[in-house]
């Protein structure tokens, strides 16, 4: 989230699209209720189904799964055509006026530089015109036909309300009503908040879905303001923490990146990071990259990371592929190239696409280690559960080791919520049986590995042997010790450059924040964005002060919000070019003539003059990007691409199947189904009664939503002779499931490109372990393909067929 949960109460308009906040984030949804009840805010819901969020909305419109970009480009087009643009904001705070390089074009769904065999682009023309001074060329009058604004205008022109209806199936009148409501928030004192979740990420163009809304929010002037923002509702209570800490194969904590094998030295690694400003006097925050990186290395390897050995740069693994994401991992297992798997708090057998393929992959492993508080399906993948897990146990040789772990309520530590708040919590219960904390297990593994290396040696043992491990009990580091490491500390005294009798940093002290981290090895910090969470003032994550001066919704003394306790990112953008709030009733920070100050920690150097330094300091431009340069694999502007399995050909580029740059493994392309065999558009989702595959293990939740079902509309039911409450079989080109069926008015057929499209909804909570009735999940059906930029699997749009069946005798 750019903003916080509590800030949602400040909004004028909530748009829930690509998510279902009421259903999947009921507690956070209370802030929507507050905005509605106290500010008269309106709620728009756009979803293939009439959801529980829609039940309390002011405006609902249906949309075909996988067509969000068409809808959003349609909104951008509407705003441009109808002058619903926050002009001052757009001109000053985005790259609208920058001139794009000659050679960059877009035609028939593709940008310049496409290579079909590689499924990739040469992105060299996707950039700005850079002047001889090294700065970007711009035209503040927006007259130049090559400026970003005019290219954008041209790019979205084809997404008329008629085209939106043709692609999305959303009735034109509904779309137009929504466009008008959204357009109103272009006023300087009207803000809209976007709440989205996996309904946008789980597509082969998930990143672009989100980016398109971000662009819309920018031209409306809704980023960096109270009640605005791009608010990703994270799907697990600590998934934000997972991303922050870089628990991905290509990241290190704080969104720094793992080197690639081409980056053989620290210098080559640094040469493509730490961008120089593209505008005069702009600040580009990533210029501090090296400070964060070196402090991370010092935190990992302490004295073994020296200036001489480039701070142990060689200790880091180097990637030979863009990432070892989950799809690639299971593909490697499937090919027999990965033969051991540690599965910690994860249930891939139900979470990864194409379950059949997952089962084969797991069966090829030599060993599988499960660390989980629950008896997951993955842990039991080898056990025959009749039709619910029809495997030949005897033929599976994988050794499965189950390590029972504690659950969050039995642990002390912090969880990072969607709003970037690190909230400390205390153990509420004693773990049952032999359950041990994950930290204990990891520590044991490390101790044993280290002992083996010490005893037997091995190829390049240094990173293991030299790992910093200064914990009081080496067998079980405490949450406090780990949190203090994340915060970082001073390793050597640093004198104050203005007064050598004083110290800027004193050895042994906790870092106050990341502002004083150094690239000379004198500071250590495991996760720079968390710095400040546990400093000399104590554990700031444990703060529970509910004071909120002037009711801004900031609650700055509750827990700790990264970075530096900032509650709203880009908050400098809440004020105009003179530094005054766009909306005086929703002040955030203002320029008092010498510095920025207000209710939140300024997201800018406090003395940066408002008309000189742009607000988006994480970008080298200082502005936000309507044109993404070469940073997104599909292109600098979002294009509507159909899902890989789609009921119709792409109306704007009929020859292109799916996202033209999404990675597809050999064999998976052949498993995509076509509309002639699988006529119905399916989507998957969560229900409020359950949390993923956990709560089916809890008796009460199981009783509230006991049995796997799919949902279809009345018309399809009639056509197929399906009765509500009866049994159906649903199948795709990859698998088949049996389910109860709920026939509902909440799903209606949509007309797309002249064709009637029925939608089949498939919730995901059932499996073959736990207290609920045994059932299947959508991943038995979904395609093995992910988002082109980050590989989140395409669970939200695929094709199936359905038929009524006689149910099992119970």
């Amino acid at each position: 989230m750019t903003n916080s949960w509590t800030d949602i109460r400040n909004t004028d308009l909530v748009i829930i699209m690509g998510g279902n906040a009421a259903e999947c984030h009921p507690c956070g949804f209370k802030w929507v209720t507050e905005a509605k009840a106290n500010r008269g805010a309106k709620l728009i819901v756009v979803d293939p189904r009439y959801t529980r969020s829609a039940a309390v909305s002011d405006m609902y419109a249906p949309i075909r799964p996988g067509t969000d970009i068409a809808f959003l480009n349609g909104l951008i087009n509407y705003c441009i055509q109808n002058d619903k643009v926050q002009w001052d904001y757009t001109k000053a705070f985005t790259n609208a006026s920058y001139i794009v390089k000659e050679g960059f074009t877009y035609q028939d769904g593709l940008f310049t530089g496409y290579d079909e065999t590689k499924r990739d682009y040469n992105r060299s023309t996707w950039d700005y015109d850079i002047g001889p001074d090294g700065y970007v060329v711009s035209d503040n009058t927006l007259q130049n036909p090559r400026c970003v604004w005019n290219l954008l205008k041209q790019h979205v022109e084809q997404y008329t309300p008629e085209m939106v209806e043709r692609i999305c199936g959303t009735p034109k009148e509904k779309f137009s009503k929504i466009a008008a409501m959204v357009g109103e928030t272009s006023a300087k004192d009207k803000y809209m908040t976007s709440m989205y979740a996996l309904g946008w990420t789980q597509h082969s163009k998930g990143s672009q879905n989100i980016r398109t809304m971000a662009m819309l929010q920018l031209i409306l002037g809704n980023i960096g303001v109270r009640g605005g923002g791009m608010n990703a509702l994270r799907g697990h209570s600590n998934i934000q923490g997972l991303t922050d800490l870089g628990l991905m194969s290509n990241l290190i904590p704080g969104y720094l990146t793992i080197p690639t094998e081409k980056e053989v030295s620290l210098d080559t690694y640094m040469s493509t990071r730490g961008f120089k400003p593209l505008k005069p006097d702009q600040m580009s925050y990533w210029q501090n990259y090296k400070k964060f990186f070196v402090s991370f290395q010092k935190s990992m390897w302490g004295p073994a990371a020296t200036a001489e050995n480039s701070f142990a740069y060689d200790y880091l693994p180097k990637l030979d592929v863009p990432s070892y994401d989950v799809l690639r991992a299971f593909e490697l297992m499937f090919q027999g190239k990965m033969n051991g798997y540690f599965c910690q708090g994860f249930n891939p057998l139900l979470s990864f696409p194409n379950r059949k393929k997952c089962t084969v992959a797991l069966s090829k492993l030599k060993y599988l280690v499960i660390m989980d508080p629950l008896d997951t399906e993955t842990a039991r993948f080898w056990e025959n559960h009749g039709e619910h897990n029809d495997v030949d146990t005897a033929s599976i040789q994988t050794e499965v080791i189950q390590l029972p772990s504690t659950c969050f309520a039995e642990d002390e530590g912090s969880l990072v919520n969607s709003g970037r708040w690190l909230q400390w919590h205390w153990a509420g219960g004693t773990p049952p049986g032999e359950a041990k904390s994950d930290v204990w297990m990891m520590a044991q593994l490390y101790q044993r590995l280290k002992a083996l290396y010490q005893k037997e040696g091995g190829a390049y043992a240094d990173p293991i042997l030299n790992l910093t491990w200064n914990y009081k009990d080496p067998n079980e580091p405490t949450p406090t010790e780990l949190a203090r490491e994340m915060n970082g500390s001073v390793l050597e005294d640093v004198p104050d450059p203005t007064d050598p009798t004083k110290l800027l940093l004193q050895k042994g002290k906790q870092m106050a924040s990341f502002a004083t981290l150094r690239d000379d090895g004198k500071t250590a910090c495991a996760c720079w964005i968390y710095s400040g969470c546990f400093n000399e003032e104590g554990n700031n994550m444990a703060r529970r002060d509910t004071s909120d001066p002037d009711n801004t919704g900031a609650y700055s003394k509750w827990a700790f919000s990264w970075p530096v306790n900032r509650r709203i990112l880009y908050n400098r953008a809440s004020a105009d070019l003179t530094g005054k709030a766009w909306d005086p009733t929703r002040k955030l920070i203002e320029w008092d003539g010498t510095k920025w100050a207000g209710y939140d920690v300024p997201d800018i150097v406090p003395n940066a003059k408002p008309d000189v330094v742009g607000p988006f300091i994480m970008n080298a431009e200082g502005t936000a990007r309507l044109f993404a340069r070469g940073l997104m694999r599909e292109g600098p502007f979002p294009v509507h691409y159909e899902p890989f399995e789609s009921p119709i050909a792409n109306p704007i580029a009929p020859k292109i199947r799916g996202n033209p740059v999404a990675r597809v493994f050999k064999g998976d392309m052949e498993q995509f189904g076509d509309a002639k065999d699988f006529p119905y558009a399916a989507t998957s989702y969560r229900l409020t009664e359950h949390f993923h595959f956990w709560t089916k293990h809890a008796q009460i939740n199981a009783s509230l939503q006991p049995e796997f079902f799919v949902e279809i509309g009345e018309e399809l039911a009639k056509e197929k002779g399906i009765k509500s409450g009866g049994w159906v079989r649903v199948w795709s080109n990859r698998g088949s499931v049996k389910a109860k069926v709920v026939v509902t008015k909440r799903i209606v057929p949509l007309t797309c490109d002249g064709k009637k499209v029925h939608i089949v909804g498939i919730p995901l909570h059932w499996g073959f372990t736990g207290a609920a009735k045994k059932g299947f999940g959508p991943n038995s059906l979904t395609p093995y393909v992910g988002d082109a930029n980050i590989e989140t699997p395409e669970y939200k749009a695929f094709l199936v067929d359905i038929e009524p069946i006689v149910g099992p005798v119970s």
């Binding site: 009921p26 507050e34 039940a55 309390v56 009664e689 009460i700 009783s703 006991p706 709920v742 119970s810």
Partner: protein, 312 residues
């Protein structure tokens, strides 16, 4: 960093026998020496997202478990109130004929805590149902004989008889929590503040604000449901379409206690009998109505016959 543990001392219980103003099958008790403020639970249906947190909190607090059932083509689980499920989310898909738009009406069903409780009036077992001066209607299970008269007497079809212990069960408005100064478990769990608890006066005021908001959003008939036919209730709803309560899974339009209630088996007599001694009366009554522990058709017949004559 340690936080102090919450206070686990039992708080003072402040809702007792002395606050009872009505008792089933008994003479009206003398007016209590104090009158508690009238309470109400406000359920703002327009804010409900149907998350069932209330339903789950109710099971948790009362230490009840519902069986893991089946899906019968709807989101309501279980499919009806049961002796364990005192509150149930009922989902209705309703197409508004004026706008043509679908509305998903989600109503939390359960005891309404009637000012004039039909269950209590119908109950033949002395002291099995009581009403406190704050308005809460509570079942006293030791005194319950499981006859099912309360079910018949209730205009909302709320109480359910347990097959295990043959006693009647329904929402207590968390009288045990209210007794120690807390609100009902469902209100505490509700994430959207759709359920509030306070004095009836406060709740009606809050409802008014909500109705103004709903009217501003085009719900011209938004209103409060506090049906006068049962003297008003201590569980009240805010409805977007208060003119049509029946669209909310059959919420009665004008609930009233059946006139038969006063006449079943000469109900009025029980008051007199109770004076003879509770044990004897219960024994006798149980003998009279035992069997299926239900109201038998002939009982209803008798009542209907009686109803034709002058009420006693």
């Amino acid at each position: 960093m340690d936080l102090p543990n919450p206070n686990v001392q039992s708080p003072k219980v402040d809702l007792t026998e002395r606050d009872v103003v009505l008792r089933s099958a008994s003479a009206v008790p003398p007016p209590p020496d104090r009158k508690l403020a009238s309470v109400a639970k406000l359920i703002d249906v327009s804010k409900c997202i149907g998350c069932k947190a209330c339903q789950s909190a109710c099971l948790e607090w009362n230490d009840m478990r519902e069986e893991v059932g089946v899906n019968v083509g709807v989101y309501d689980n279980p499919h009806d109130l049961t002796p364990n499920t005192f509150t149930l989310m009922r989902f209705t898909e309703w197409v508004n004929p004026d706008s043509g738009n679908l509305e998903w009406l989600i109503r939390k069903d359960g005891c309404m805590h009637c000012e004039d409780p039909g269950c209590l009036k119908a109950c033949p077992a002395p002291g099995a149902i009581v009403k406190y001066s704050n308005g809460i209607v509570d079942f006293v299970h030791e005194n319950c004989i499981g006859c099912g008269y309360c079910v018949k007497g209730c205009p909302f079809n709320i109480p359910r008889i347990s097959k295990v212990d043959h006693k009647a069960y329904k929402c207590t408005l968390c009288s045990d929590r209210v007794a120690v100064g807390q609100g009902p478990a469902c209100a505490k769990a509700c994430p959207t503040h759709c359920i509030s608890f306070g004095t009836k006066e406060e709740m009606l005021k809050q409802a008014e604000g909500r109705i103004t908001d709903l009217k501003s959003r085009g719900y011209a008939n938004a209103g409060v449901y506090d049906p006068p036919g049962v003297g008003g209730t201590h569980v009240i709803y805010v409805l977007h379409h208060a003119d049509k309560p029946e669209i909310y899974a059959g919420l009665p339009n004008n609930p009233r206690i059946s006139p038969l209630i006063n006449l079943w088996k000469g109900g009025a007599k029980y008051a007199g009998m109770a004076i003879m001694g509770i044990t004897a009366a219960v024994g006798l009554l149980h003998y009279v109505v035992a069997g299926a522990n239900r109201v038998k058709p002939e009982d209803e017949e008798n009542a209907k016959k009686l109803a034709k004559g002058p009420a006693s």
